[in-house]
């Protein structure tokens, strides 16, 4: 079926291609280019200068932020996956088709609420004089410091990614062959053991990809670290906004951005390799 493309097919296929090349791929490549540019008197001039790379990568502040961001995102992905799994398991295995569809619809709702508004609301819940601490005070506990620290950031990241992770896990669990579970039960495999020895391995790809998405979203999120974590010390995404918004240091921001993309690609590649490992064997 290798014919010359018709006018009709080009009209349909090209606009999207051109749009994404011009306004998506090209800006990303341009980002790589400006990481070598220099800034003089608040003006960027094209250059092939490694100074930005040296300056960013030689500073301890950058690596501290890098490590912090990586650990926060990893923790968020692990915690979110752990919280999500029992819920996804219950949705996939214990609910009727109709209830399942409702759950999916309910879990899609948060995607269309403003994350900013939710984070602002979380501030009210988590602050020292906020809702949760007031509730604790009634029973004579607290106040617990839940804002402007890692706890706050993780809560924000879990809020952001939990619905997505539950959905992805549920979809992958839906594909688990029900006969396998029946077989495991017949072979006197216990409930918990069935979950870990039969169900989790057969849904492995989906579970890993769900965790990966949680990691990607958390790694790039700047709202939770800024408004629930206090923004200081910064994460990589806060560094980017700082470099860009104050000081016009776009080339340095570009360096941080490229490091982030490289990390995400490496993580994604590692995760997907892990997910598909041993399956064909």
């Amino acid at each position: 079926m290798t014919k010359r493309p018709t006018f009709f097919s080009l009209i349909l296929s090209l606009p999207l291609l051109i749009w994404q090349l011009t306004f998506f791929l090209f800006p990303l490549l341009f980002l790589v280019a400006i990481s070598f540019w220099t800034v003089r008197n608040f003006q960027m001039t094209p250059d092939l200068n490694f100074g930005n790379w040296e300056r960013v990568l030689s500073r301890g502040v950058f690596w501290d932020a890098y490590l912090r961001t990586f650990i926060l995102a990893t923790a968020a992905a692990a915690i979110t996956s752990a919280i999500a799994f029992p819920a996804s398991y219950a949705i996939s295995f214990k609910m009727s088709e109709k209830a399942k569809r409702w759950m999916i619809f309910i879990l899609i709702i948060p995607f269309f609420t403003s994350y900013l508004v939710r984070v602002y609301s979380l501030q009210v819940f988590l602050s020292d004089a906020g809702i949760i601490n007031a509730a604790f005070a009634y029973i004579g506990l607290g106040p617990f410091s839940m804002l402007n620290n890692a706890f706050g950031v993780i809560v924000g990241m879990v809020t952001l990614t939990l619905p997505l992770v539950i959905l992805l896990q549920t979809f992958s669990l839906n594909f688990v062959n029900r006969d396998l579970i029946e077989a495991a039960h017949n072979l006197r495999c216990g409930r918990l053991r069935t979950v870990f020895a039969v169900i989790a391995p057969s849904a492995k790809v989906g579970l890993v990809i769900a965790a990966l998405f949680s990691f990607i979203l958390s790694f790039g999120d700047f709202v939770s670290p800024l408004y629930l974590g206090g923004g200081n010390p910064p994460t990589l995404s806060i560094m980017i906004t700082d470099f860009t918004k104050s000081g016009q240091q776009w080339p340095r921001a570009a360096v941080v951005a490229i490091m982030m993309i490289a990390t995400l690609l490496t993580t994604a590649f590692a995760a997907i390799t892990y997910a598909y490992k041993e399956r064909g064997k």
Binding site: Q20, F23, I34, I131, D221
Partner: protein
Amino acid sequence: MGNENRIINGLLKLHIVLCLLFIFAPIAGSFVFSLNSDRFPSLPLGTFSTDWYRAIWEDPLVWQGFGNTLIVGLTVAVIATLLGFGGAYTDFRYNFTGKSIYVALALLPPTIPVVIMGLAMLAFLSRINLSGTTISVIIAHGVMCAPFAMAIIRLRLSQMDPDLEAASWNMGGNQWQTLRYVIIPFAKPAIFAALFITMAVSFDEFAVAWFVSGLNETLPVKILGFLQGQVSPRINAIGSLAFLSSMTLIILAQLLLRSPEDQKK
């Protein structure tokens, strides 16, 4: 599944309820706080008040932001849906070398962190002197929304009997007529769903818009500004209204996507 265990099932149900509580408490909280007199709500809650809604109603900057949001959202919905439809049909109908690259390029944008998208867009658009305009927000949101439109329409097309197209050609319809009288009518619910969902995505997107919008801020960018400033429950009032409008769009989309199946039954 003979050995159902009531305690475990009960615990699982409880877990789901807790998860939903965790997910929806901030959303519900924002509603409650928006109707509360306190500047910084805590327990016990203050009195019922619509002051925050009045404050945003009387704020010209909010109206201006709302206007920008609406213009951007409507334009983005149309552009993203047109682009997405083309992409979905291409993926459905054709096989060509490099197709996987085509599809990847079309679907990748949502996986790039928004700060990086924002920075890349800002650097690029300011180079071509478009940064700080409403058009720049439309361009950026077009990139981010087209994948959603494409996915929704592609899903619908995959439910189509491929013989329908062939039948139309056999009866003498050319490609354009087939598109016009067979494919578009079939994909119509998904096309409308894509319009509504991309609009809703654009309504709530703040990060990239913040980078590129300059003075032509959309409403979510205004909220970001409020967040950086003093504590202001106006955020809750705006958020609640935005949530209601987004939900209306989503429910419309949901009804559109569901109706054909229900008619079949």
